[in-house]
Symmetry: C2
C-alpha cells in the first residue's frame, strides 16, 4: 500500500463543503468517486481539514492510500478527467507513509474577501461577500493586529463545537484595500469622508496560523467588518479573548468570501 498526496483547488459554491455528508454533494465524495472511476479503488481521501458549504480552496491538501501502478505525478491528470470543472487536482505526488494531511499540517493560510459597494456585483459575489457601508480601514487594521499571537479563541467558534483545546497561534494577519478600477467603479465615491474611510473596492483579509477553529476565520472577518463600520469597538477581539463569549464578536461572515489558500507541512 502506498500513500499519495493531492493538492486540490475547488470552487465551493455548489458543494456542502469538503466533508462527506448524507445530504448534499461534498468535494471529498467527488474526489473519492474520481479515484474509483480512474483506478477502480475504493478509498477514503483525508483532507487537511473541513471547509464549510460554499467555502473555496486554492490548495486543499489531502492524502489517500492505494496500490497504483501509475507514476504519482500522473494521478493528477487521470483524476481530472473524472472531476467536474469546479474541482481539479493541481498536484499529485507520493507521500511518506507517516504523512497525514490533517495531523501533519503545521500552518494554514485563509483569505477572506469583502467587496464594498452600494450595489450587488455579480462578477465579484462568487468569491467575495458584500459590505454595504464605507469602513474605517485603519481601525480594522489596528484591531486585526490584536489577534496575532497565541490566544484562547474559545469565543471565536460557532456554538456546539466540541473542540476542547481552543488555544491557537496566529502567525500573521493582514488587511489590504484595493479600489475598483475606473472602468468598473460604480456608485458614489466617498468624497469628503475622512481618509481612513474606504468604499468602492475590495478588502482582502489574509490570516496565517497553526490551526483554526470551526468558523473562526469567518467570525474574525465578521467582527472586523463591524469594527470598520463602527458597530463594534477596536478592542472587541481582546475583550473576547478575556470574556470568551461568542456574543462579544461580530456575525459569522458569509461562506462565499472565504478561501483556504495554503496548508504548510514543513516550516522552513
Amino acid at each position: 500500500m502506498s500513500r499519495y498526496r493531492l493538492v486540490i483547488e475547488y470552487d465551493g459554491t455548489n458543494y456542502c463543503g469538503w466533508q462527506r455528508q448524507k445530504n448534499g454533494v461534498s468535494v471529498q465524495e467527488k474526489v473519492e468517486n474520481a479515484i474509483y472511476s480512474a483506478f477502480g479503488v475504493q478509498t477514503v481521501v483525508t483532507g487537511s481539514g473541513r471547509t464549510d458549504a460554499g467555502v473555496h480552496a486554492a490548495a486543499q491538501v489531502a492524502h489517500f492510500d492505494a496500490q497504483l501502478t501509475i507514476p504519482p505525478r500522473k494521478i493528477r491528470e487521470a483524476l481530472n478527467g473524472y472531476l467536474p470543472q469546479d474541482i481539479k487536482i493541481v498536484c499529485s505526488q507520493a507521500a511518506k507513509e507517516d504523512f497525514h494531511a490533517r495531523f501533519s499540517a503545521k500552518q494554514k493560510t485563509y483569505q477572506y474577501t469583502y467587496y464594498l459597494s452600494e450595489t450587488e456585483r455579480p462578477l465579484l459575489s462568487r468569491y467575495a461577500a458584500r459590505a454595504k457601508r464605507p469602513v474605517n480601514l485603519s481601525a480594522m487594521q489596528a484591531a486585526l493586529q490584536t489577534v496575532v499571537g497565541v490566544h484562547d479563541f474559545a469565543a471565536f467558534s460557532s456554538t456546539g463545537s466540541s473542540v476542547k483545546d481552543t488555544v491557537r497561534e496566529i502567525y500573521a494577519a493582514s488587511l489590504t484595500y484595493s479600489p475598483f478600477s475606473a472602468a468598473s467603479a460604480k456608485g458614489d465615491s466617498a468624497v469628503g469622508e475622512p481618509q481612513a474611510e474606504v468604499f468602492n473596492g475590495t478588502l482582502t483579509l489574509t490570516v496565517t496560523g497553526n490551526g483554526f477553529l470551526y468558523n473562526m476565520v469567518r467570525i474574525i472577518a465578521g467582527t472586523l467588518l463591524a469594527v470598520g463600520e463602527g458597530t463594534l469597538s477596536a478592542s472587541a477581539f481582546e475583550q473576547a479573548f478575556q470574556g470568551k463569549k461568542r456574543t462579544i464578536l461580530g456575525k459569522t461572515a458569509p461562506a462565499a468570501g472565504l478561501t483556504l489558500l495554503s496548508v504548510v507541512y514543513e516550516i522552513k
Copy 2:
C-alpha cells in the same frame, strides 16, 4: 413616455448571451421580465450590443421606454429584487429621448483574460480561458500594437456575419502579465527560459475601439495566443488586414475569458 438608461453587470456563464433567443435564457429576457415584475410594464430593453453565450459584462448599457412614477435612481433597487444573483443593475437613470444604447455608443472596451497553467484552475476558469504552454509576451505585445488604428477587420469576424462595413478603429490595446502569487503558484516555473517567455500567471488583454464585429475580440485573443505560442507569426494581424481571410488568424478564444468592461457615449 420616458426613456431610462441602465448599467448592467452580469456573469454570462449560465446565459445564451445578451440577446433574446428561442432556445436558451438570455440576459435581456431576465431584465425585461424584472421590469414587468416590478412595474407591470412590458417593454423591450435595448443593449449596447450583443454579448455571446458565456460572455460577461461589468457594465453593459441598455435603455428602455416606460412611464414610471418611481424616481429613475430607484429603478435599480426595484429591479434587483427580481433579478438573479448573476445579473444586477448597478446604475439606473433618466435618459434623453434621443439616447440609444446601441446607436449612440461611441466607444467600447473589452477585456480578455487567459490563465497560463499546466493544470485547470477552478478558481480562475469562470472568468478566464486556459493557455497550456508558456508564451512569448513581448512577441504578443508587439503583434497587438499592429491592430491599433483604422483597419478593415473583414477577416476578424465569424463566417456568416452579414455586416457590410467591416472597418473599425481600435483606439488602444494592451496586454499585461501578472504571475500567480507564491501562495497559489502551481506547476513548474519557467526557470531557464528566455525572459520574454511567461507561464504560471494571468494574461489580460484590454481593447478599446469604436466598435467590434461579431467575435472580433475573441479572434484577436486567439490569434494573439497563437503568436505567443509561436504557431502564428507576429505579422498575422497585418496579413489578415490585407488578405481578409479568416483562416490567416487564430482560433476564436473561449467565451468565458471575455468581459465587456465599459461603453462610452460621450468622448471627453
